[in-house]
Amino acid sequence: MKIIVLVKQVPDTYDERKLDPATGILDREASEAIIDEIVERALEVALSYKDSHQDTELVLLSMGPEPVTTSLRKGLSLGADSAVHVRDDDLSGADLTRTAAVLAAALTATGFDLVIAGNESTDGRGGVIPAMVAERLHLPHLTSIDSVEITDAAISGERETENGTLTVHAALPAIISITERAPEVRFPNFKGIMGAKKKPITVLSLSDLSVAPEASGHSIILSTTVRPARAAGKKIIDDGNAGVELAEFLAAGHLI
C-alpha cells in the first residue's frame, strides 16, 4: 500500500495572522509557519495503518515556497518515508483551481493507492481541495471522515455532516479527508528526528509535471479591508453587585 498524505503549511493560529492589504494574499512574514494540525491528524491515520502493515510506503506531498521544507521534515520525523515538494515561483498566489490541478499532476507522477488529507485548513478553511483533486483524477472521495478503516482494496468510515453521520465506503484508489475527531498525532522520538534528516525530499517544479494548461475559471481578489480593531468597553470589578449591573447593561441594549 502506498499512502500519500497532503501537507499544508499554515500560519500558526496562536499568532496574529495577516493578509497583504494590496494583494489579499497571505503575509508569510507576519506569523510563524507551521504544519497544520489537521494534517498531523491525517498523518496519524496513515502512521497507525503503517504500524500494523510494515510494507506500507508513506509519502508526504506539499506545494508551497521553500519554508514548507520545515513542515515536511516534521512529518518525516514522525515516521513518513519520503516527501515530494512542489515548488515554483509561478505558483505564488495560486487559487484553488490551480492548486488542485498541480496537486493532481504531482499525485499522478508519484503514484498512490490512497491519499489522506485534513478536512479543512485553519487558514483558508475551504475544504474543497481533496474533492477537486478526486474529480481531476476521476476517483471517489470520502471527505470529513471521523473514523477510518483501511483494507487492501477499500476504505470505509463515518462521514460527519451538519445533520448527522453517513456510513460510506469506496474502492481504492481513493482520496479521503479526516476531521478533528481523528486521533492526535504521536510525538516524534529522538530516532525519528535524527532519521528524518536522511530521508529524501524530492523537489519538483512545474516543468517536471504535466499540469493541464489553465483554461478554466480562476478567482481574482478585488479588495482587502482590515477590520478596525475592537475597542475594550466598560470593565468593572465585582463588588457583589456585578450580576445585577450586567443584567441592566443587557436590558439597556435590548439583549434580554
Binding site: 493560529t13 496562536y14 495572522r17 493578509l19 489579499g24 489537521i38 487559487d95 483551481t97 483558508g124 475551504g126 475544504g127 474543497v128 481541495i129 474533492a131 477537486m132 474529480e135 471517489p140 472521495h141 471527505t143 470505509s156 462521514r159 460527519e160 455532516t161 451538519e162 445533520n163 448527522g164 453521520t165 453517513l166 456510513t167 465506503h169 469506496a170 483554461a215 478554466s216 475559471g217 478567482s219 481574482i220 481578489i221 478585488l222 479588495s223 482587502t224 477590520r227 475592537r230 475594550a232 468597553g233 466598560k234 470593565k235 468593572i236 465585582d238 457583589g240 456585578a242 450580576g243 449591573e245 450586567l246 443584567a247 441592566e248 447593561f249 443587557l250 441594549g253 439583549l255 434580554i256
Partner: protein, 323 residues
Amino acid sequence: MSNILTLIEVSSTGELRNTAPALLAAAAKLGTPVAVVAVKPGTGAALASQLGELGASQVYVAESDQVGASLVSPEIEALVSAHAALSPGAVLVAHSVTGRDVAARLAVRLAGGLLIDAVDVRLDADQVIATHSIFGGAYTVEAAVQGGIPIVTVRSGAIQERAKSATPTVTVVPVDVDSGASAVIDAVHDVVVSSTRPELRDAKTVVSGGRGLGSKEKFELVTQLADALGAAVGASRAAVDAGYVSQTLQVGQTGTTVAPALYIALGISGAIQHRAGMQTAKTIVAINTDADAPIFDIADFGIVGDVFTVVPQLIEAINARRH
C-alpha cells in the same frame, strides 16, 4: 437577468435542509433564482411549492435512483444537467460538508472558478462578487471569477435576507449517474435534534465556558445561563481539551465560527485562537477572575470576578425582569 442555480440539499426523508432560504435569497440578488434538487424518481414535485415560497422562480428536479446511495454524484449531475439546460450566470451551494464537495467537483467539471465560504454576494456590472470574512473576521476580502462560471459556497447563517415568494415552473428530468468515481453510502444516521437550544452556528446569543469553570460538573453553570437567555452553549478549546464538553461545542479557529448579537464568555481567557471564532459578535461580555485576561480587550462589558457568584446573580436578575 441570468438564471442563478442553487443546489437545495434534501434530507433522506425528503425535507429541505435549513440552508435553502438563504441560498435562494442570495440567488435573487444576482438574477433569477432556480432551485435544483436531486431526488429519487417521483419524489420531487412535493418540494416545489415550498421552494416557491422561499423565492424559487423555477424548480429543476433531477431524478436518479442513485440519490442517497452514491455520495454527492447525483447532486453534481443535477447541476451539470441544469447548467446545460439553463446557461446560468452562477451556481450557489451551501458551505456544508455536502455543498463544498459538490462545488469542488463541479468547478472541475464545468471548468469554473470557486468562491468559497461567502458571507455575502452582489452583482456589479454583470460580475458576481463574493464577500469573504477571513481569519475570523479580521479581514474582509471581495473576490470574483474570471474566465469561467462562478461557483459560490455560502456560509450558513451569514445571509439573513429572504427572497419574495414566487410561483415556480417545475421541470423534471432524469439524470445518469456514473457511480464509478463515487463513494457509496451504506447508511444514513440523521441526528434527531432533542435539545430545544438553538444551534451554535446560527444562534442569536451564545454563552461559552472556558477552563475557568474548573470541571465538567461545574460547566453546568454555562448551560444554566444559556437556558435563561435562550442561548446556544459554546466552549473554548481549553474547556474541550479538559473534557468538560464535546468538541462539537468548540468556538474558535479550529471549531465553529459564530457571529451572534450577544456573546458571553465565562472563564475564558481569550487566546487569539478563540477570538478568531467569535470576535465579530455584535456585543461581547466577559467574566473572568484574571483582570489581565486578553478577552477584556475586546469585551463591551467586562467583569473581573468569580463566575460562580456573578452568574447566579445574573440569572436571578434576568428571571426577575421576566416576572
